[in-house]
Symmetry: C5
């Protein structure tokens, strides 16, 4: 039984943890999830350390950086913190950040959060249970949220690029 940690924030404007848990449930079994919610993205690194201490094998860190320059700096500091925790523990933290200004309205923001969270949930599942699938998709231009970029051979779009 593997343990997947989920760290998220009250600052974010969409409950991405719900999407992650739903997608993981649809994808497979053999794991259970544990969750730790913090106020903002700069609190996520300690949340992840805490989840690893509770024996998480991997953690998904969900956050929504704001649109102002000061928010962009916060986002970089949060990412560096998540990186330092990964280098310290040797374990993956799948960072799922949706920048509030990536979407043009609340409806698109909801869609983007849900979709990116689900695709990264799948990545997380694959890293633990189906690592060979990632290798088969190496260099395929896969994206989380918006359309896959596809590889440079012209294989583009959702249907053709990805081997499930």
């Amino acid at each position: 039984m593997k343990i997947i940690g989920i760290a998220d924030t009250t600052f974010a404007r969409y409950d991405m943890a719900k999407s992650v848990m739903d997608e993981l449930g649809k994808t497979g079994t053999g794991f259970r999830t544990i969750r730790y919610t913090v106020p903002g993205i700069k609190d996520l690194p300690v949340a992840c350390l805490n989840l690893f201490q509770k024996d998480a094998d991997i953690v998904i860190a969900l956050g929504m950086p704001g649109p102002k320059p000061v928010d962009k700096i916060s986002s970089q500091v949060a990412s560096m913190g998540l990186m330092e925790v990964q280098v310290k523990t040797g374990k993956h933290i799948i960072e799922v950040f949706v920048h509030e200004d990536e979407a043009s309205n609340d409806r698109e923001l909801s869609w983007l959060c849900d979709r990116r969270a689900r695709e990264h949930a799948l990545n997380t599942y694959n890293l633990i249970f189906r690592h060979e699938l990632l290798m088969e998709n190496s260099g395929k231009g896969l994206r989380q949220g918006f359309r896959d970029a596809g590889d440079t051979e012209g294989i583009n779009g959702e249907s053709s690029a990805r081997r499930h």
Copy 2:
């Protein structure tokens, strides 16, 4: 009995520690506070280490970065230092920075400092004593200082977004 550390600076133009202590006192019991004041924000990480050595369970770091480009760099370095202390100790530091240029005059600056300090004091209390409340507010678009952003479902503003 939990210990809440408060680290602050003589550079800041508002005594946010006073707001924090007042709000914590109104919110609950079961803790005592210890305080360590330093000249500027780049001195806060050592202040936090010092408070953790005196058995603080969590620290609130209060600072007011100036408006010049060189101040923004100092702010980023200070934040990275606070991050490194968190990764080293595995304990939360709630960073409460009010940038001097977030407010248009001294009166608004006072209001913003007081309010952000109080809302982060509540976050700090919740992280120690009522962690389940943070999880209930996950993805609700809560902000410290200015109005809550609300979630993407259109639940917006102070009264509706937040479950106390």
Copy 3:
């Protein structure tokens, strides 16, 4: 028998690992490769730690940062993570990043990825097996991907600058 680790991503739009393995095979013997694929560039540092744990002597980290400002920040965070792993382990990670906006179309992007991957594969081989060759080429203005810059004495271009 030396072990060369190869870490790559599903985000990249070209399979640089294939170019690396082909070039290494053409260059010499005395090694075997191991591979670890992750979703994106910020996942590469843990991939490298994993490969070093499996006794890799050196790792080649292949990635393709996107063209947006947020991608540039991700790239810097990923590079800092690769740097921290190197400082921690004392072993080389040869970072091979091709920024999507370095090329003007998919055809040039393919060409650039293939070529930069091959030239860094050679660097990797030289670091393990022919370190004296690097010293002979010190200060020669060698580049990976586009044309060598040559040294300041006017020795310029592919044929004259490089001693193989």
Copy 4:
């Protein structure tokens, strides 16, 4: 007997160490100073480590970043290094950087260097011997070099803001 370390550079254009030692001498007793001079600001972190190894209780790091963009990056790297030494040792390094472009001519630059060095010398003395004084000045808008900003209640200027 406490030990105050002083780290400075040959790159700086004013001998701030002299101002620091003069001010410390005027302020009190119970300490001795040790000094370590390096070429530039990026050499200061090792200078500080060296002074801590010689039992310094606190270090003042004096530097003068140049005006070019490349100098600003150097300054940030130096500050990050000083931060990492502080996180590693748990001891304060009072960073006293005067950016060459903060002053409009050499005369003002001299004045600024002397004054900022003296005010930080006082901060350093207070951190060791009179920590309660810093707490009394918390949130008072104190600045080192140019005029104090004062607090947001309108208490402004040199005479009123500061309790000595």
Copy 5:
């Protein structure tokens, strides 16, 4: 017998190691040099760790960052890596970076590389063998490469500022 490590790259367009070794030879005795060449500046931190493992007392790291924005980021990452190695080992790495766009043509670039390398070789020698000389030159506005800035008292230019 002291050991001076020299780390350099094949990316640089001038053989600064030659200038360093020539200058060190002219300056004094009591040391020997060891050298480690890598492809690019981001490979220098591991080169330095390697030289320290071979008992180097100090390392000179020679590099030439390119002129593009992506090169500037690489340069900052490389500098942060050199900083982390210094904080880890407590030993000086004298970073000698000549940015390709500091000079207006190849002839000036050669001159600048040679001269900066020689002046930093002298700094390195002084840090090990004549540390008191650095203290005498503290705050004198010494520069490596272009003209010394001199101190703010108006003592300017090569001849007057520097005490050899």
